[in-house]
Every structure is written in C-alpha cells, then in structure tokens.
Assembly symmetry: C3
Amino acid sequence: MAPDSPVLLAAVTLLSAFQMGYLARRVGWSRMAHKILPPAVSGPPEFERTFRAHQNCVEFYPLFLVTLWTCGMFFNEEVAAAAGLVYMVARQIYFNGYIQSTKKRLTGFYLTLAALLSLSVLALTGIVGGILDKYLYIHI
Amino acid sequence: MAPDSPVLLAAVTLLSAFQMGYLARRVGWSRMAHKILPPAVSGPPEFERTFRAHQNCVEFYPLFLVTLWTCGMFFNEEVAAAAGLVYMVARQIYFNGYIQSTKKRLTGFYLTLAALLSLSVLALTGIVGGILDKYLYIHI
Amino acid sequence: MAPDSPVLLAAVTLLSAFQMGYLARRVGWSRMAHKILPPAVSGPPEFERTFRAHQNCVEFYPLFLVTLWTCGMFFNEEVAAAAGLVYMVARQIYFNGYIQSTKKRLTGFYLTLAALLSLSVLALTGIVGGILDKYLYIHI
C-alpha cells in the first residue's frame, strides 16, 4: 500500500518549503517597504495584512504536511501529491489576495480548506483501512 | 524495531491535525463573537486569551509530532500512540482552561509537558539504542 | 538510497525539539523577569526581541524538518545530520544575538539560511535523481 520511496510526496513537500521561505521573504520585503524594523509587528494595514497572511500560512503548514503524508502513505501517493499542489496554489491565491484586502483573502482560504479536507478524508479512509487490515485482519 | 506500517501513529497524527483545525476554528468563532476582523489580533481579554491559547498549541505542535514519531518508530508504537492521545486531551484542557482565565491554563499546560517529556525520554532511549545497535554493534 | 533506519536524522530531530523547548522556556523566563503575564506579548524591547526571536525559530522549524529529512532520505543521512547540527548552532547564535539587539540577530540568521539552503539544494538533487530513477528509469 505505502510507496517504498515516496519521491513525489518528498518533491511536493520540498516545493512547499520553498514556497513558505518565499512567503517569509515577502514579509521581509514588506518590512523594508514600510520601514518597520523587527521586533515590531504593527504598522500600516498593508503590512499587518502581509504579516498575518504569512502567520496563517505558518499555522496551517504542519496540518498540510500531516494530511499530505498520511494521504500519500495510506491512500495514494499520486493523488496526495496532486492535492498538495492544489493546496500550494490556493495558499498563493490566499496570500496575494489578503495583501490587497481582508475580504480578498476568502477565495484562497476556502480553496485551501477544500484541499486540506480532501487530503484529510482520503487519509482517514486509508488509515481506517490500514487499521482494519493490520489489527482485525479485514481486507477491503 | 520500527513498525513497518505505523498506522496507529498515523491515526493519532491525523486526529491531532483535526484537533488543531478545530482550535483554529474556535479562534475564528471568537473573532466573530467579539467582532474582531483580521488582521487585528488584539481585543477584549477573552479573545486575546483564546488567540494566545491557539498560538501556544501551534508553537508546540511540531514538538509533539517529532516526539510522537521518534518515540513510535524507535521505542514502541502503541506506547507512543497512547501518550499522543494523552497529549491531545491535555491540550484540550489547556485550551478550555486558558479561555476562562490565564491561571486556569496551568493544569492543562503541565499535563501537556508531562506527555511531551514522557514521549521525549522514551524516544531518546529508543534512539540511543538504535545508534548503539547500528554504529557500534551493541545490542541491548 | 534511503537509510532503512534513519537513526541519525531521528537523533538530530529530537535534539532540535529539545532546543525548541529550551527556547520556549527562555521566553517564559523573560516573561517572569519583566513581569509580563500571558496573554500579553508586548513589553520592554528586550522582552519583545526575545519573544520575536522565538517566533522566528517557530516559523522556520517546519522548513528545517522538511529539508533535513528530504536531504537525509534522498541524498545522504550523515551529511544531512551534520548540516542539521550546524542549523541548530546557527539558531542559538541567532537567538542569543537577537536578545542583545535587533542588529545582532543577523549573523546567526544568515548562517541559518546557509544551512537551510545547503540542505535544500542537496535534497533537491536527491529528489530529482529519485524521480528520474523511479519514473523515467534513468540511473545517475
């Protein structure tokens, strides 16, 4: 069931880490543009939206990694990798939208949730199947 | 030593991701109840406690995942999964307590630390045994 | 290619979790020293720098784990473990420097980025090789 060398999951994971690094960089650029020296985190609305957009990405990143890998290892690697790419695109839409206005963050955010929910449901299916298989000898 | 299909660890991990999603949702509900539109993160004390309770869960979540998996892969999967469930209950007690008052966060917090410490010590035991075994050919 | 029992990666990962726990503790001590009760996160500059130094470590921690493990599993475990130790030292230099002044965070920060970049490039090399091998039957 589980892929022996989950290279697609690893590729999507590494790409998502690059994206997170890029989003952190965007916060740094926003600091420079608005002359807000660390450790300050308050400033003009655009900076605060940029800062908070990044924070939200940071908060959800472990949930993304967990659902990506449980879906990929216990359901299907290719499906998980594809949903992972959708999540990354959704995060970018969310981030770019949030910087423009608080309201424009919503489309990307709901897309993000849809990708996470899909990964979660498939992961759950795979894990329940795995538990039935391993502990109750029921093969589906 | 390491379980070939760590389905219990995966199950606890996925459950903990659901819990983290639920706690993020609680912050969203608190925003609505107190009419605090993002990106603002300050407001009445109850909102600030809810926000900070969630932040603390976010900060500790990677430490939980690391100790859960190193304990599960290098010491014992069932023990790790059980301690993982204790951690999740402790986090919920912490979160619910913190929302009521700053002081009421402490019981859950100490329980959280106890679960993390147990996972860490067992993981350390397993890893030290693994290093002795693999690199020094000493089998315990 | 991938180590069957990546005990060195696990050891570095567990050590890094201990370090993150220690840095969280440092924020707690700073709260006590400056009498700043949660959920407050603002106070004298030294406290705010300590708080933000820790937040930055938290934000980057998943990126560290991702690059450590993809480098270790798809490129080379020993190299990844060594670069992981460098990252941990860099984080400590960053944290200690940041507490003294905003400017003194920079040396550690650039070292941190150098370690992350090294891990990323090697991980990318390994993953690209893995994809060529698995899906295109090209062995390098």
